[in-house]
Subunit: 252 residues, 2 copies
DNA sequence: GACGTGCAGATTGTCGACAATGAGACAGAA
DNA sequence: TTCTGTCTCATTGTCGACAATCTGCACGTC
């Protein structure tokens, strides 16, 4: 699931009430819709319909959409409105290049200053992935996979890297939706995950980064069509009523 | 100077006319204003005045501002509007942590697949920095320094890393404005730059990353108050008329 | 039959106005 | 004096409406 950022960026003196604005809430809803596939990739988003479903005017919706444009999740063509980004071809490599930048740095930080708890959290996320992979729910497998990488980066303790990873996870999901007609995930957990965990436990940054690199290389080649692993697809339901009305007064 | 992103993210089939929307233009103007210090750090931006100066309504201005909020350059407090972000304390470390993630990956990519031209471009940017450092124009020195790092990341050839770096450069500038009352830069070029260039020429990724790490550690300690190097400050003029009216019809 | 042209419909981009919220000034009580 | 409550004003948040633009279809011409 996409992180509802920012969670707590910067710590104020005594206490900070992180009230969410309407734009925040709408942006979160849009991300959820894209992440879940309710807003299919490439689909142009009708401002009138969506704003009506959200129970708000077009103005705050458009403002929130600009957030996603900046994230690279929506694309805006002047006069033609906005649509969910399509990420394919060389852009797939680029997503994983950026992921490597973030995750490799996270791994390096963890191997240097990682506590026992962080390693446990990562191991826990891995166990969740293994459990999910034993079933046939492709959505659950994909979610657990992405969640693992988010937890990995969170363990580095950097606000900006956490935020960047959240965006990259959204883009990774869009890549999955963009390739072929179905969303497919590996059925079995890649052995590189174990290698990565072992390297983290041994505080071997080099080996951990290598594991990541191989893992990403596998993912790219699978996503770019050279697939040769057992995958399971998931059919995305197209709901008519995607968005629930938001209530700016009951913000947390 | 801040890059006017996106330059050409993704390459379409035959030709793509990258017409810029009004929101794009406003966002660029806002970034320029913040980068130049015309919009001082922490200052709340009056929507009425700025939109009037830009010659547009508040709606497109607010939409553009949301882009910068997503970038972490503006902060929006519900009911209190938006203001230029202040980046200080631990957030300074975080900026450089993220910079290390991006630049280290760029360096690794360059040492693996860097062409002669890319290395020349980086060297050229370094020469510019040296030349600027011989003068007393702190602004020019700072610009050349940031430009060097942008060129470095550009050389990696990744759209996302280029964009991320542009944002990080904005944040770095904000850090400079946030600390103390003046904006100061090193008077002499850090020797780590030469080390970095040599390592790149020798395709030694490890040494190059080490040079970056040391360079960033120096910068952080200087910015966080443990300064012990010769610096030159720059006084920021506060202009009354900051923005030039934009003309959506004459877009490039 | 293929291509270019013009019209109609729908959607987006922009604006001005109203409502809601917050900040600061001011007066009164402890 | 200092704190508290209230009032006023400025600014923001939201909305509905208008203008501009694009898409698709129908028509006419070559």
């Amino acid at each position: 699931m996409p992180r509802d950022l920012p969670r707590s960026v910067g710590r104020a003196a005594v206490l900070r009430v992180p009230r969410l604005s309407t734009v925040d809430l709408i942006a979160i809803e849009l991300r959820k819709a894209i992440f879940s596939g309710a807003l299919s990739v490439g689909a142009s988003l009708g401002e009138v319909e969506i704003s009506a479903q959200l129970g708000v005017s077009r103005s705050p919706l458009r403002e929130a959409a600009q957030r996603l444009v900046q994230e690279g999740i929506l694309v805006a063509v002047p006069g033609r409105g906005m649509s969910v980004a399509v990420i394919e071809g060389e852009q797939i490599d680029d997503v994983y290049e950026m992921r490597l930048a973030v995750e490799a740095q996270a791994v390096r930080r963890i191997t240097r200053a990682g506590s026992t708890e962080t390693l446990e959290a990562i191991t826990r996320a891995f166990d969740e992935l293994v459990t999910a992979s034993e079933g046939d729910d492709a959505r659950a497998i994909g979610d657990a996979d992405l969640e693992f990488h988010q937890v990995l980066v969170d363990a580095a303790g950097s606000d900006r890297m956490t935020r960047a990873m959240a965006t990259l996870i959204m883009q990774t999901r869009i890549v999955s939706f963009s390739v072929a007609e179905g969303y497919s995930v590996r059925r079995s957990v890649s052995p590189t995950y174990r290698t990565l965990l072992d390297a983290l436990a041994a505080a071997d940054a080099g080996a951990a980064v290598d594991a990541l690199e191989q893992q990403f290389a596998d993912a790219v080649s699978r996503l770019r069509g050279d697939a040769d692993v057992d995958t399971v697809e998931v059919d995305l339901e197209d709901e008519v009523q995607v968005f629930q009305p938001i209530d700016p007064t009951s913000v947390g």
